[in-house]
Subunit: 423 residues, 2 copies
C-alpha cells in the first residue's frame, strides 16, 4: 500500500483535530484512499502530550519543510510570517502543502499560486474558508461550469454567535462578546473576528475563485459587528429583519462588489436563519441557479475534516489551480467603491422628543429626499430612536443627505445596508 508521510506544523485545536482523525479513522481513510497516512514529524512551540513520542518533534517549523522524509506539510500555525516561509520552503522542496490559513491565501495567494505552478506542486486550502463546509471545492470544481454572479456568505462563527445571541436574548454587544469568550466561541483578542477581517480574508478567497482574479483583500470595504447596538437589532426585528455579518460578492459588468458589513436580511430568507456558530454560503450561478450550503465553520475535528479531505485529494492525485485558473491568467479585480453601492438602507436616527411627532417625523426630517417604506420606534426618555427602512439609494447620495440633516432635530444618525436576496 502507498504511504504518504506527513509533517504537521502546529499543535493547537486544528492540529490536534487532524492528528486525532488520522489516528482514529486510519482504517476507513485507508479504504477510501488506498493510502496509509503517517505523521512522521510535528512542530510547535512546545510538544504536546497527545503526540506519540516516537514522532519527530521540531521546535522550528521550517525544519519540517526541510525534512526529506516528509511528503506533505500541513500548516496550521496561522499568521503570514512563519507560515508563509514554511509553505514556500515546502513548495520549493517539492513537497505538497495543505493549509488552513485564510490570511496567507487572501494576502499572498497569487504569489503562492505562481510558486506552486513553478515547482509543479499542490496546495490544498479547503479548511481556510467555512471549515468543513466544502465551499472551496464546490466553487473550484462543481460550479466550474458556471459564471458565479453573486454570493452572500456568513463566514465567521464568532460574529454570527454574537448577533444571534443579541437577537434572541436582547443582551448588548459587550455582554454578548464576553459570554462568547467564556464559551470559547471568541478569542481572548477577538479583533480579527469582530472587526470583519477574518470574514474579509475568506471573502477575498471565494471572490478570487468566482471571478478568476487575484484576491483583492486590500481593496475590500470591511465593517465588523462591533458597532452594532442592541437598538439596531431590536428595530430591525420589529421591521421583520435580522442583522447578519455578510461577505458579499456581486459581479457588476466588468467590475464587482466585494464587501463585508452587517446587513439586514428578511427573517424569512434562508440564510438569515443560519444561527449560532454555523457558516453559510449562498451562491447564484449562471447555469445552476441558487445553491445554499450550511455547515460548521470551526472546531478541531470540523476543520481537521477539511484538511484530511485535502490529504485524500493528494493521495488520489486530484488537483486544481489555486484559484481555479492558471496564475498568469488571473485578472486584477476591479472592485467598486462602497460609495457606489445602490440598494436599500436601514437608518437609525436619534431624535429629540420635543421637536417632532412620530406620525410625520420622516417627512419633517427628510422632506422628499428619502422615501420611508417602514418605520419602527423606541421611546427613550427625552429621545425617540427611529428605525427607518428606506427606498433604494446610491450610497454616496445617502451619506450626503445624512450629513446635512437638521442637527437641532436629529441628534445622531447612522445607516446599515439592506440586502434583498430573494432566496
Amino acid at each position: 500500500m502507498k504511504k504518504l508521510k506527513i509533517g504537521l506544523a502546529g499543535l493547537g485545536t486544528v492540529g490536534r483535530g487532524v492528528y486525532e482523525i488520522l489516528k482514529k479513522d486510519a482504517k476507513i481513510l485507508e479504504l477510501k484512499s488506498q493510502t496509509i497516512f503517517e505523521i512522521v514529524a510535528v512542530s510547535a512551540r512546545s510538544n504536546k502530550d497527545f503526540v506519540d513520542s516516537k514522532i519527530k518533534f521540531y521546535s522550528n517549523a521550517i525544519d519540517l519543510a526541510n525534512d526529506s522524509e516528509v511528503d506533505v506539510v500541513i500548516e496550521v500555525i496561522g499568521g503570514t510570517t512563519l507560515a508563509k516561509e514554511l509553505v514556500e520552503t515546502a513548495i520549493k522542496n517539492g513537497k505538497k502543502v495543505i493549509t488552513a490559513n485564510k490570511a496567507l491565501i487572501a494576502e499572498f495567494g497569487s504569489e503562492i499560486s505562481a510558486l506552486v505552478e513553478k515547482y509543479n506542486g499542490h496546495i490544498g486550502f479547503e479548511a481556510s474558508t467555512a471549515g468543513a463546509n466544502p465551499v472551496i471545492k464546490n466553487f473550484k470544481e462543481s460550479f466550474v461550469s458556471n459564471e458565479i454572479t453573486e454570493f452572500y456568505a456568513i463566514l465567521n462563527g464568532t460574529c454570527n454567535f454574537i448577533l444571534t445571541k443579541m437577537g434572541n436574548e436582547g443582551s448588548n454587544y459587550l455582554e454578548t462578546l464576553a459570554q462568547a469568550q467564556k464559551l470559547g466561541y471568541a478569542e481572548a483578542d477577538p479583533t480579527l473576528d469582530i472587526k470583519g477581517i477574518d470574514t474579509a480574508h475568506k471573502l477575498a478567497i471565494l471572490s478570487a475563485i468566482s471571478s478568476s482574479s487575484k484576491p483583492a483583500f486590500k481593496k475590500l470595504h470591511i465593517e465588523g459587528v462591533d458597532e452594532i447596538s442592541i437598538e439596531d437589532v431590536k428595530l430591525a426585528d420589529e421591521l421583520g429583519y435580522k442583522i447578519k455579518l455578510l461577505g458579499i460578492y456581486k459581479k457588476l459588468g466588468d467590475s464587482c462588489q466585494q464587501t463585508i458589513y452587517p446587513a439586514l436580511l428578511k427573517k424569512c430568507d434562508k440564510i438569515a436563519q443560519v444561527d449560532g456558530p454555523f457558516n453559510a454560503v449562498l451562491v447564484n450561478t449562471s447555469n445552476a441557479s441558487w445553491n445554499l450550503s450550511i455547515g460548521r465553520g470551526a472546531g478541531g475535528l470540523t476543520t481537521g475534516s477539511a484538511i484530511v479531505a485535502d490529504l485524500i485529494d493528494i493521495a488520489c492525485g486530484r488537483s486544481s489551480f489555486l484559484f481555479g485558473v492558471e496564475n498568469s491568467k488571473l485578472s486584477e479585480a476591479n472592485v467598486i467603491n462602497i460609495s457606489q453601492r445602490v440598494g436599500k438602507y436601514f437608518l437609525k436616527l436619534i431624535i429629540d422628543k420635543n421637536s417632532a411627532q412620530k406620525t410625520n417625523i420622516a417627512e419633517v426630517i427628510f422632506g422628499n429626499k428619502i422615501l420611508v417604506e417602514q418605520a419602527a420606534f423606541i421611546d427613550a426618555n427625552e429621545e425617540i430612536i427611529c428605525g427607518f427602512l428606506i427606498n433604494s439609494q446610491v450610497e454616496k447620495d445617502l451619506t450626503e443627505i445624512l450629513k446635512n440633516l437638521d442637527s437641532g432635530l436629529v441628534k445622531s444618525s447612522k445607516f446599515l445596508r439592506v440586502e434583498e436576496i430573494g432566496f
Copy 2:
C-alpha cells in the same frame, strides 16, 4: 491546447442544456480547464434543429461508443436498456463516460464500477442525483474524511412541488398533480416520481457512497406521495409539521435504514423549509457534524451544469472510484426491514362522530397502549378526522395495535412517520 471530443447521446432537455453550455460558455470553460470541448457526434431518435449540422448524427446511440473520434460519451438517454449497453460499450472501448442516469447507477452501479476499473476508465454521474447540487462530489471527496452517520434528502422536485402546493393552497393531491404537469414540473406519466422510485434511485446511490457498500435499490422500502391526502397535510400543519418526501439513510451499528417515505418534519427544521422544485441534502458526519445543501434538482442548464463539471474533472485528470472505494471492497448493505423502525408517528383516524367525545377520544381508542402527545381534529359531517402525534413506537408493534382497533369506533386508520432531526 488539449481537446476533448464528445459524443452526446440524447437531445432532450438535459442534452440540450449540455449542448448550450458547451457553446455559450466555451471561453470560460477553456480558461478553467485548459481544454477545448468539442461535440463531434450526437445521437437521438431524431436530430434536433439546435444542433449544428456539421456534427455527426447517429440514430443508434451505440454508434457513438464505437466512433473512434469520440473521447468522452455523455449519456442522457435515461432508462437501463439502451443506456446500459451504450455505457458498457463506451467503457470497453476505452472512452470516458458521463451519465445523468440514476436508475442505471442505482441498479447496475456495482457492475459498472467493476467494468470501469477493469478498463481503467472513468465514469462521472454528478448529474444523477440532486441536479446541480454537488452532493456526489461532496459525499465522495469532501466528507471522505468522515463516517456518514445519517442523511435526510429531498431528491424529487415534482413531489416537493406537489407537497408544497398542497400545503400552501389547500388543494388536493390530484388537482395539484395536474397543475404540476401543466407547469412542466411533472411528467405526463409521473409514476417514477410520485411513487418514490426516482427518490429511491438517488437514495441508493448516496447510501452506497455513505456506507461503502453496493447500492441496495431492491432492498429499499419505498413509499411515494400519491397516498397523501389534503387532510394529512392540514392536520400535520395544525400540529406544527410539514410533510416532505424524504430519502433517509441512518447507520445503525452494522445495519442501516434506507427508506423513502413522506415524513412529518417540524416546520422550523431547515430542511422542512425547502419548498417547490428545490432539492436538499442534510447530512450528519462523524467529524464535520451537520451539513445542509440546497439547490435546483432539475432543468436543462442545471443538470447540464453538473455534467459539464464532470467533463472538466476528466479534462483535469480528477477521478475517484464510482462509489468512493474499489469495487471489490464494497460490502453488501445490511438494510433493516421498515417494521423494525423505532420512532415517532402521526396517526390519522376517521371516527364515527356519535361514538366518542373529542376530549377522551384517544383514551377510548388506544387505552394505555399509545401515548398521544398532540392532537388535531377536522369535523366532517358524521365523522371526526383525528390527527394524533404519538410517542415512540416500534413500527411492527404499531401496525399490530392499529390492526386491532375497535372497528365499530374507528372507520379507518393510517400512519405517517415523524422524523425528529434537530437541525
